[in-house]
Each structure stands twice: as structure tokens, then as C-alpha cells.
Symmetry: C2
Subunit: 309 residues, 2 copies
């Protein structure tokens, strides 16, 4: 076991990601003690009860006192208020990271921070459709990518903090990539935000076809629909905030998607089988690349069916 990186980590937001990172940091021996704060006191208490952290804090100030690492793991809509809390309560020289799915808005919020605080915006591209402290597990970040979008600061203290954040993520099994916030927000709009929007929308649209009962949607969901329901079961508040905070990039990629969908619609209307077959052929190579990169299982149906081979 390597040496601890931090004496005391404050986990702000005891949800899936906060609880997973707490477990992972402890498992890696990267922190000596852990304290959780959540605006829902029951979540922090639960995190303590199941051993995710050592203590539950009654407020942000109690969590931040003496913490040399603060992890902000709350919906990204709370980032401005939490940066004010950091300014008011973080100890001198604390390393602060967040785990939000949007990074441009986080960089803007961080501009108000005290100069002694090293804030390193991070986005571990990992998760499940589940929420809350009980959903967390230490292996969530294994072989996943964590994107760091450093602030525009050139001082040595900040560079050292970025290095330390990188080491933190590597200790919990992630691969680290650096990126500017605008590119992050566009790339993730493509690979995460648009897919979630589409899944939420498809699930809603299925509810609206009056002549097809929900019981039928459930029964015949193995035809493809069930795949979409996984990410459509994700935390509604977290995702609301993602779309509010990454509006421009999401609208941009949504525009591309809608154009492509209109092309498909026309091909169906006009019976253009050649165009359809050509468009449908692109999926296989991309999936193969994702499997080869270790980001997906090669098993049919994700290996989820009880008796699949």
C-alpha cells in the first residue's frame, strides 16, 4: 500500500460518485480519514452508517475544517454556492476537486475562489444508473477515464496541486486525460449528455402512444427499448443541471442529431434501402473499437441475460 496522499478528505455530496470515491480512496490507502457532508443529512448519516466515511458533518464548515482535500460531488447546479462555501470555510492551501459532468461552468464558478485554494476541476467518466450512498462501490473508476480541465493558473503551487489530483485518480484505478473545458463540454455532449437526453426522451415518447399500453412496452422491451431505460433511470436533478449548465454544446450536438434523424426519416419515407443499409453499417466498427478499448463488454446483450452464453 502506497503512502496516504491526504490526512483528511471531506466528501461534499454523499451520492453514487461521492460514496464511490470515498470507498476507492480508502481502499487505495490514499486518505487517513473521511468526513461527509450532504445537504440531505440522511445521506451523510447513511454514508457513515455503512462505513463509506468515518464521520458525518452537520454542515459544510464542519466538513471542511482541517480537510486537506475537499471533493465536491454534488449536482453541477450547486457549484456557485459551493465555491462560496469553499471560500468561507476551506483551510489554507486545501486541494479542492469536483467531479461534475460540465466543466466550463465550473471554471467560471472557480474564478471567485481565494488565491490560496487550489481548485482542480475533474470529471471521472464513470457511473451507473443508481443513486445515493448505498450505490457507491470502490471499483467504479477502474479502467475509466478521468478528464482534468485545469484552471488558467501558471504558479508552481497550482501545478503541484494538478499533479496531486492526477495521482489521486490514478490511485483509484482511472486513466487521466487533460483537456480545456470547452472541448470537454463538447466531447461529453456527444458521448454522454446527448445519449442521456435521447434516452429520457424516448422513454417519455413511449409513454405517449395511447394505443400501446405501458404493459406492452414492458413485455416487448427486449426488442431494444430496455437498453435505453438504463440511463433514463439516472438521477433527474443531476441531469437537469447538466443540461442547464452545458446548454450551447448540447444544443449544437442535438442539432446534428436532428439533421441526421431527418435524413433517416426521409430514407424511410422514400423507401431508400441503400441509404438505410449504408447508415446502419457504421455501428459495428465503432462498437468493436469501444470493446477493444476496454470500455465495453464483448458479451452479447451486455452479458445480462440469465442464460446467455
Amino acid at each position: 500500500m502506497a503512502d496516504p496522499l491526504f490526512e483528511r478528505a471531506a466528501i461534499v455530496g454523499a451520492g453514487l460518485i461521492g460514496a464511490s470515491l470515498a470507498r476507492a480512496l480508502r481502499k487505495a490507502g490514499a486518505v487517513k480519514s473521511l468526513i461527509a457532508y450532504d445537504k440531505d443529512p440522511a445521506a451523510a448519516a447513511r454514508a457513515k452508517e455503512i462505513g463509506v466515511v468515518d464521520e458525518a458533518a452537520k454542515d459544510f464548515a464542519a466538513a471542511a475544517a482541517n480537510a486537506d482535500l475537499i471533493v465536491i460531488a454534488a449536482p453541477v447546479g450547486a457549484i456557485d454556492a459551493l465555491c462560496r462555501d469553499v471560500n468561507d470555510h476551506a483551510r489554507d492551501g486545501a486541494l479542492v476537486i469536483d467531479v461534475g459532468s460540465v466543466k466550463g461552468a465550473v471554471a467560471e464558478a472557480a474564478a471567485q475562489l481565494r488565491a490560496d485554494i487550489a481548485f482542480v476541476p475533474c470529471h471521472p467518466v464513470a457511473g451507473t444508473e443508481q443513486s445515493g450512498p448505498d450505490a457507491g462501490f470502490a471499483e467504479l473508476f477502474d479502467d475509466r477515464w478521468c478528464i482534468i480541465t485545469p484552471l488558467d493558473r501558471q504558479d508552481d503551487a497550482y501545478k503541484a496541486a494538478v499533479d496531486k489530483a492526477r495521482t489521486l485518480w490514478e490511485r483509484v484505478g482511472a486513466h487521466v486525460e487533460f483537456m480545456d473545458p470547452a472541448h470537454h463540454d463538447l466531447a461529453l455532449a456527444v458521448t454522454s449528455h446527448l445519449p442521456h437526453l435521447i434516452a429520457f426522451t424516448l422513454v417519455g415518447a413511449a409513454d405517449d402512444v395511447e394505443s400501446v399500453a405501458q404493459a406492452e412496452v414492458v413485455k416487448y422491451s427486449a426488442g431494444g427499448f430496455r437498453d435505453f431505460t438504463r440511463i433514463a433511470a439516472s438521477d433527474p436533478v443531476m441531469w437537469r443541471d447538466v443540461f442547464l449548465k452545458n446548454r450551447e454544446a448540447v444544443l449544437e450536438v442535438l442539432g446534428r442529431f436532428s439533421e441526421e434523424l431527418a435524413v433517416m426519416q426521409r430514407a424511410i419515407r422514400w423507401g431508400d434501402g441503400e441509404a438505410l443499409e449504408k447508415a446502419f453499417t457504421r455501428g459495428r466498427s465503432l462498437r468493436r473499437a469501444i470493446v477493444e478499448a476496454g470500455q465495453e463488454t464483448a458479451k452479447p446483450n451486455f452479458g445480462r441475460d440469465k442464460k446467455g452464453h
Copy 2:
């Protein structure tokens, strides 16, 4: 082991579904012998080589000779030509079933059949993203629904044939539901055809955002995108035919989806967090219902990640 239902089954189309049904029928002791025909001779030869069937036929006539069951498991675009083959070569009184994902077009094609042939249109709502005889496995239909859309025939011989088809599907583990073809085509447009169209389109659109490299799409696909690539890796020819043969129903549900998507787009543009959160809340209950119905795993991330709990 129950008694065999058939002496000799001809499997026309040695792909995922044909090979799976052949394996399942044999495992259930429902047939005494199996012969495969595929317009690609290599597929039929492969099915024989790996023990899916006893014999590979050189043409449709050789497969159909002496078969009391003919299973049409080819892309639905071939249904007219295959009904002509059935007329020319099926033995007197043969039971013929298909497994196509569209049923209105199949009923129309069946209108040309000889009166002595009992054609029972079937759609087992099961599959994986893989193709070909090697992808087949006997358990594919376990706990899945098979929809039968009987032709408009009231004679006793036909009713007995429908009963026999029902027994066949139950013997391989499926639950059977009866439906009229138009309702089938609408219900499956919702639960299968639209999801596939959306997945194919999203994968194509991701390719088209020039400033985001495909390598990035691959790396960060765990953010949600990878879920869509499973069904977008499905057989392009099979799916081309589905959209050509179920045009009206697909365009209808696609219109609903596009409207819903426009509503979401406006909510994002105007920063309407309340509307987004409300829309996003619908996904969880539907997923729970699908899990409870045994059509989906309850494990996070489909249980697919190496070290998830």
C-alpha cells in the same frame, strides 16, 4: 422429455434467430431432424459443422422436401420470394412459421399461399446484437415473449396449426401472446424499431462532429454512448428491411419522438429546469417495471463491468 412435435424441420436462414431456434428445438426434443438452407451456402454449411442442424440443403426445394415444419428466419424483405418458394416446394399440409419483426407485410405476402399450407406468422421478441450461425444459442427465447399474429382463417386445420405453433414456442421457453398484425407493428415500432433507428442515428451523428475525434468518443463512451452501440451493431440488412416494411408505424412513432425532442430542446434553450426534471423523472418507474417483469437485469450498468458489485 416430451414427445417430438415435428419429424423434420427446415430452417430457412441460418442466422442468429434460425440457429438459436434450431438449437432450442433440438434441446427441447421438439424435432427429430433438422436441415438448414441459407442463400449464403457458407452459413448453412457452418450451421451443420457446429451441430446446429443435421444437414445443409443446397436449395430451398431440398430443405422443404419432407419437412413438416418450415421456419423462415430471413430478413423480412425476402418474405414475398420465400412465400413463392413455399408454394412451389412445401409438402402438403406443412406448418410454416416466420420470425420476422414486421407482421403486416408478412400477412400480405401469405395471402398468395396454397390453401393446404398453414402459415403462422410469429415474432419472438428476443435477440442479441450478433449475427450468423455461431451467434445462436438455445436459451435465447427463455422468458421472452413471442407474438403470434394469425392469418384471417377460421378453418379447423388452421386453428390446429396455430395451436401447434404456440406449443412450439412454449417448448423453447417463450411466453405467447396473440395480436393483430397492425397492432403488432405499432407496438414493436415503439419498443424495438424506433430504439434501433435512434441508436443507429446517434452513432452516425457522433461520427459527424468533426472537432471530436472518434478516439475520444471511444474513450468517454462509458458516459452513456456505449449503451447505444449495442443495438447499433445489429445486422444492417435485417434492419433495413424492417424500416422498409414497417414504414407507416415507424414514421408515426418517429413523429411522436421528434415532437417530444423538440419540447426538450426548447426547455434546454430557455433554461426550464422544472420541465426537464419532470420529464427525466419518468424513466425510473418504467425501468423498475421492466426489471420486475423479468425482462431486464437489476444490476447496475447491466452488470457488465468487470468489477462492479
